[in-house]
Symmetry: C2
Subunit: 181 residues, 2 copies
């Protein structure tokens, strides 16, 4: 099949979404842009925490990445506070909980305590699941093992579908979570 | 009067709060810490947006500060989404609206549209005012001048008091704003 050069490129860009390391972030950003453009929700990625050590003529010449103490995405939907993170694993049978920093787990607890909505979007086995913060905390508090089985995620999580126009469309799941609160 | 050396220092640290350039950020951070410690609210300062250009052996060696497109502080109070910024002016008669970037004004509009609570804390004339985002947007939309008079801020804003234990205690004002929504 022959495409004009630029269309081919576009096509290529789309189909590589599921293979690239950055894919999860990209398709979540696409969803957030769609929600913003359509007045559905206002959710954005926070800046990466960086400790600046030295600045010369407005240019940062010495700095380092800090460990995040909150989750990467925050915003609001129907007036409610939302905060979540996106995590990927190449493992097939479980998600290692070491992927979530202790500070982040503590932060999820605090968001729940303050009646906000917090969750993880987990990419595992070429599928995307939204797992409610409450489910994650319950699991951590009642299990000594540091891994969360794929079967548990599949059972307790909400399967998300990638959509060409909407990106990884997760917002409707939040309605389900709100009903559970 | 004679103090032991360390007490004197503490005392000094406190009274210089109102004079230092960083003071407003510090006393807001103190308030946020107090709210966190006492389960009143969960509000934190977002990381400063930085564009990383070059990283060598995990060290950032080339980067620059980006213009913020959102407000510096976000979080939740009673389940509601809060986002605000802290601004200072040394001018006595007005607050220059050029202190708020266009992207930030647009962001305040979006937060309001999504039923969140957005405001500015303005330091002017050695006083601190909380000015609701709706008031700011109304002012911008109905005035051509690029300054907001001190008298307007005094009339429409909520005067905030600095408290040694609680920092710049702004959370109660939000109850008033919620009632207006």
């Amino acid at each position: 099949m022959k495409y004009p050069n630029n269309i081919k490129k576009e096509f290529k860009k789309v189909i590589t979404h599921s293979n690239r390391g950055m894919s999860l972030e990209n398709i979540i950003n696409d969803a957030n842009q769609y929600y913003l453009d359509n007045d559905i929700a206002l959710i954005y990625k926070k800046p990466t925490p960086i400790q600046v050590v030295k600045v010369q003529n407005k240019k940062i010449v010495d700095a380092f990445f800090k460990e995040p103490s909150t989750l990467d995405y925050s915003g609001l939907y129907k007036g409610k506070y939302i905060e979540f993170d996106a995590k990927e694993t190449k493992l097939k049978n479980y998600f290692p909980l070491s992927n979530i920093h202790d500070h982040q787990i503590n932060h999820i607890r605090n968001v729940i305590k303050q009646h906000g909505i917090s969750f993880l979007i987990i990419a595992i086995n070429n599928e995307y699941y939204l797992l409610n913060g409450l489910t994650i905390i319950d699991y951590i508090d009642s299990n000594d093992i540091k891994n969360m089985p794929y079967d548990f995620i599949k059972e307790k999580g909400f399967l998300l579908k990638y959509n060409y126009l909407r990106g990884l469309d997760y917002i409707k799941v939040i309605d389900n979570i709100m009903e559970e609160l």
